[in-house]
Symmetry: C2
Amino acid sequence: MSNVEFKIKKKLSGTLGRAGVLETPHGIIETPAFVTVGTKATVKALTPEQVESLGAQVVLANTYHLYLEPGDEIVRDAGGFGKFMNWHGPTMTDSGGFQVFSLGVAFGAKVRKLSKVTQNEIVSGDEIDPEDQAGKLAKIDEDGVTFKSYKDGSEHRFTPERSMEIQHNLDADIIFAFDECTSPVAPYEYQKQAMERTHRWAKRSLDAHHANKNAVSKQGLFGVVQGGRHRDLREESARVLGAMDFDGYGIGGSFDKDDMTTAVGWVNAILPEDKPRHLLGIGEPEDLFGAVLNGCDLFDCVAPTRMGRNGTLHTRDGKINLRNAKFARDFTPVDSECDCYTCKNYTRAYVAHLFRSNEMLAGTLGSIHNLRFIIALVEKMRAAILDGTFDTLKINFLGRYHKKIKG
Amino acid sequence: MSNVEFKIKKKLSGTLGRAGVLETPHGIIETPAFVTVGTKATVKALTPEQVESLGAQVVLANTYHLYLEPGDEIVRDAGGFGKFMNWHGPTMTDSGGFQVFSLGVAFGAKVRKLSKVTQNEIVSGDEIDPEDQAGKLAKIDEDGVTFKSYKDGSEHRFTPERSMEIQHNLDADIIFAFDECTSPVAPYEYQKQAMERTHRWAKRSLDAHHANKNAVSKQGLFGVVQGGRHRDLREESARVLGAMDFDGYGIGGSFDKDDMTTAVGWVNAILPEDKPRHLLGIGEPEDLFGAVLNGCDLFDCVAPTRMGRNGTLHTRDGKINLRNAKFARDFTPVDSECDCYTCKNYTRAYVAHLFRSNEMLAGTLGSIHNLRFIIALVEKMRAAILDGTFDTLKINFLGRYHKKIKG
């Protein structure tokens, strides 16, 4: 009996979509759910109470970052990252794989970021030789990865077993198997080799996890499907990992923007239906609709908070940048239909003033709004699955959201 | 009948100290009270609800900064700075004088900052010629001051009438007469000339204020006592301004650290007893005790929040810097006797991690703690005046607070 239990409440007929409930040791997550990112055991610019007030159900921290600072043993001694940061609800940590690789390899331009591309922007790059995959900062071998810290250049090594050990110390409710996140511009042969290695690492992660009875008693382990942009590899990865005893699945790596939704469908058609699926690194409204329709239950992304700190805010009519001069005397809310703290209490003129003045509260108010906007959108998707109005929601929302951008 | 009414509740026998209540259009302020600084219509790193939860009763914004950004007319159109920033309690603005002068003159080292030295650190400097008083960025004449913006070098001009006009636009409950804040290293003759000009400006401020019936109906005006470090000048300033029809008094300018308390006593022995007195720019515990004992009712200072953002936090046993390595594994609260949100929910290890990681929440948690520490201290002073235990409080608090620093 796993400590992480998933129940489907309703399926969206004719699609892979579903609404469910994911039980964790620190509470339930009603799915589909947007997972709030708290990289270093803090959702940037927000208190946990502010995060909770947005309807956030779960916080995901990054293993790579917490390992480097303050160190997973300090987090363990503090009682795990949830207790450390004063977040009492469900928690997740990623495997550390994405940061290790993304800081060591060049990612291609024109390729949709999809995986755990949550901490680093994809940098433009020409096609790279797969031998460069391990790049300057990370070297891959069958056993694991040796990499240099982005902070001080010191050398470190992650293996599946080490990733499990660190994630056990961080003590999140849901943890991820150690995976290789390939560059989207790597050729087919390399993608295949890397995927097969990821499968072996998945098995080793599972074994290492099961060897720790204390961890098994309170942490669920998700495997991570890879395979790049290739249908046969994605389907093979879903089959191989789907046959392993994971509590759920992450879908990592990169896809082309146009085929993301399709590719997610390939994977979810094969993954066990009764297990939750987490699409890593997704947070734009159109992608969320596609992912939900194609059977994903969880999504995380730093985009809402990063944009929120930079002054780019979601509205029902598309994104606006509050640094634009036209907002200096705009005494209306950021989005007059939004129920968030920022929209209920402040004007665009005020928030714009904070951004121009580089005041810290700007990032707080921007993050509150963008997170609430995305969380509320996913809440609406769930409600629409339950009452059978998903198509209407999608058409109405995206029609209006994109109108302004294109118009 | 003024819209700002002060009532003394109890005097501290044998001293100038008193506890009182200051009524303003946006609520009462129980004095002595620490005034929280919200420079640009935001208390840095905090929401107004967080500020209120600390026991803060009143927020002071800086006229100079709001005039430059976003501009006082935008703040006026937003309904005043309190409404603009979503702070519903009492508000104050300073005259703009301090920033105008402090950005144009060299302040001396070894001199206690006292006046509105709230936005800029005093820079070390040799004795300067009084003719340099107007410095590179500010030029003083009888009518007012021409200065250059610290932001873009653009030229601006403040006069007493203009300061009133801007402060009427900002619409705080309590505003200040335009004053010249002299360099503490300026010679006696210059201090005397500047003080006399400040008295003429005080009269012009009063006239300009009274000419605006709408403003008079909802804003109280405080005069600002100057006179540098000279007893005769301070006493003369208190006499001249005390005879004018102000709703209260600010005490500005700089004193030597050692004679600050004494000098404040000279002034308050002369100022009308029934009017509130605001000592500008004070926020260290020992100074607060001295100021309260010598008859001050209000104090403002950016030190608690500035230190809080930098990792220097008050404790009952003196200040600590959380960036110190010894706190990395300290799982106790910042101050185990403190009732603030930070101390109730987080460990030194966690807050230290946030500071080392340059996370925005570090500044928020640090500011919450330091502000609550100072506000709670002033609350205790008020209670001690009311129940006759002020001396005990002072001895016990300062004995312990300084023990660690000196020991």
